[in-house]
């Protein structure tokens, strides 16, 4: 087990992503941030705070629950509880930055994009993640990445955030050989 990102690294990664978003999108008046539950929504709120510190304005913030859009509902043997999606603005013609903690197979992001377009037609969807650990199963890539990490398929990347887990930290737990 090893710590990939400590609290300071997490903070710097979010600040850097905020700067990259400002550089790339320029016009924040058409921007919105949507975090994927759970933890992506926490990161999204922090990203909004970072953008406010840089640009002095707030962008609309939403959170997305993708449970109803999962492609494995018939496989997992029970129905996970669906939590509320909260998008209190129109996504039409906005640039929506989806935020998640870990980018892995890409299936969560596929589900999130399907869910998002049920709320309207964004001008563009971008993707920001704290960690990209590789092993994509779908043709999806992130626009903003906190840290790229080389992992084996069976490894476990654990993101902890103060709001939900008491402290900020990203840990890599290596696969235990059978």
């Amino acid at each position: 087990m090893s710590i990939l990102l400590a609290a300071d690294d997490v903070r710097r990664a979010i600040t850097r992503i905020a700067h990259e978003i400002v550089e790339r999108e320029r016009d924040l008046s058409q921007l919105a941030i949507v975090g994927i539950r759970t933890r992506g929504d926490v990161l999204a709120a922090r990203l909004r705070t970072a953008l406010r510190e840089i640009e002095g304005r707030d962008v609309p913030l939403g959170s997305l629950d993708i449970t109803l859009y999962r492609d494995d509902l018939t496989r997992i043997g029970y129905s996970p509880t669906v939590h509320r999606t909260d998008i209190p603005f129109s996504v039409d013609d906005r640039v929506v930055v989806l935020v998640d903690d870990v980018l892995f197979t890409g299936r969560t992001i596929r589900a999130a994009m399907d869910a998002l377009v049920d709320y309207g037609r964004p001008r563009a969807i971008r993707l920001a993640v704290l960690v990209d650990r590789g092993h994509r199963e779908l043709p999806i890539r992130a626009d903003f990445v906190g840290k790229n990490i080389a992992t084996a398929l069976g490894d476990d990347v654990r993101v902890r955030l103060a709001e939900s887990d008491g402290r900020d930290e990203v840990e890599l737990a290596l696969r235990v050989p059978a």
Binding site: T38, T67, Y69, S79, H83, T85, D118, Y119
Partner: protein, 327 residues
């Protein structure tokens, strides 16, 4: 997997996070956790219904059969909208105009519904217990949409959801149910859903329309009987008026509909006896001017339209939870 913190509408989530049931027949034997799980999922389903695209994909490729052997429009339409909002295919079978009318037995009908590929059978039947008979003989999931006088679990759950949304935590809240309790599966299901959530129930209505055991001391836990409606309503947190079947007056259980309206009908003066803004509910369809005055049914306390909207969301939550169960 972490447990989310609570939504503002509901108290903190509870321990049992996993749905285990294959059928929804009655909430009488449900734990509080199971009721909470349905209500929690209902919040998310209500949000789906508020979107520009009121549809999500989790039941794609599944077939929901609506088998209504007893007349119903609103419950059937509510289930149909719920199934379609989750992208299921929907097949409608009603008793009239079907092979049921030609003498087919219930068992043969069920075999046919199953052979047609029904994953979920939603059924309403005039005979109490009919959904249990079907559930024992099919691999499909069965949802009871009302059986005889026995149970109407989705009504109980939608009433609980509606009351929670209006009153918050139901612990210590007193809900009045007034009318024909004897013949009412709604009253029974409301009791079996609201009492586990901490509410107490005051039944009121003519003694001929209250189960005889409940007029004595053999009331279920959390339930009392108050024959005087004004006293029942005094300080109450909400009231649910039951539909009065007009034929009850013809069978001698009531002197007349007019007397019923005067003694048991919800008037503006009566509902004002409750706490300020205490809501008024009715499962529909209403006999306006008999069990409820039009001014109350359409007044500021009325949650009757909210009940209809919430009914779709509750049924979506149940269809979703059942669909995840291995058959």
């Amino acid at each position: 997997m972490t447990v989310r913190t609570s939504e503002p509408l509901m108290p903190a989530p509870v321990a049992a996070r996993r749905w285990q049931r294959r059928h929804v027949l009655s909430t009488e034997d449900w734990s509080r956790d199971e009721i909470e799980l349905v209500l929690e999922n209902t919040i998310a389903m209500a949000e789906v219904l508020s979107r520009p695209v009121r549809r999500a994909p989790p039941l794609r490729g599944r077939t929901v059969v609506l088998f209504f052997a007893e007349a119903s429009t609103r419950t059937r339409v509510s289930f149909e909208l719920a199934a379609k909002a989750l992208s299921a295919d929907v097949v409608n079978i009603s008793a009239s105009g079907s092979s049921v009318e030609k003498g087919e037995t219930l068992l043969d009908t069920v075999r046919t519904l199953e052979a047609l590929g029904g994953d979920v059978i939603v059924m309403r039947h005039g005979a109490s217990g009919a959904p249990y008979f079907v559930a024992d003989r099919t691999s499909a999931a069965v949802i009871n949409a009302g059986d005889g006088w026995h149970s109407h679990p989705t009504q109980g759950l939608l009433d609980a959801y509606t009351l929670r949304a209006a009153l918050g935590d139901l612990a210590g809240k007193r809900i009045v149910i007034v009318g024909d309790v004897l013949h009412s599966r709604v009253a029974r299901s409301d009791i079996h859903t609201l009492v586990p959530l901490g509410a107490s129930i005051t039944l009121s209505g003519p003694a001929t329309l209250i189960p005889s055991a409940w007029r004595s001391d053999l009331l279920p836990a959390g339930v009392t009987y108050e024959p005087d409606l004004d006293r029942a309503l005094d300080g109450a947190d909400a009231v649910i008026a039951l539909r009065l079947q007009r034929e009850r007056a013809e069978t001698g259980l009531l002197p007349s509909l007019r007397e019923y309206a005067r003694t048991w009908g919800l008037s503006e003066a009566r509902v004002a006896l409750m706490r300020p803004a205490a809501p008024v509910m009715h499962p529909g369809p209403m006999n306006e001017g008999i069990e409820i005055e039009a001014a109350v049914a359409h007044g500021p306390r009325s949650l009757i339209e909210a009940q209809v909207t919430n009914g779709v969301a509750v049924r979506m939550a149940l269809l979703y939870l059942l669909a995840g169960q291995p058959s």
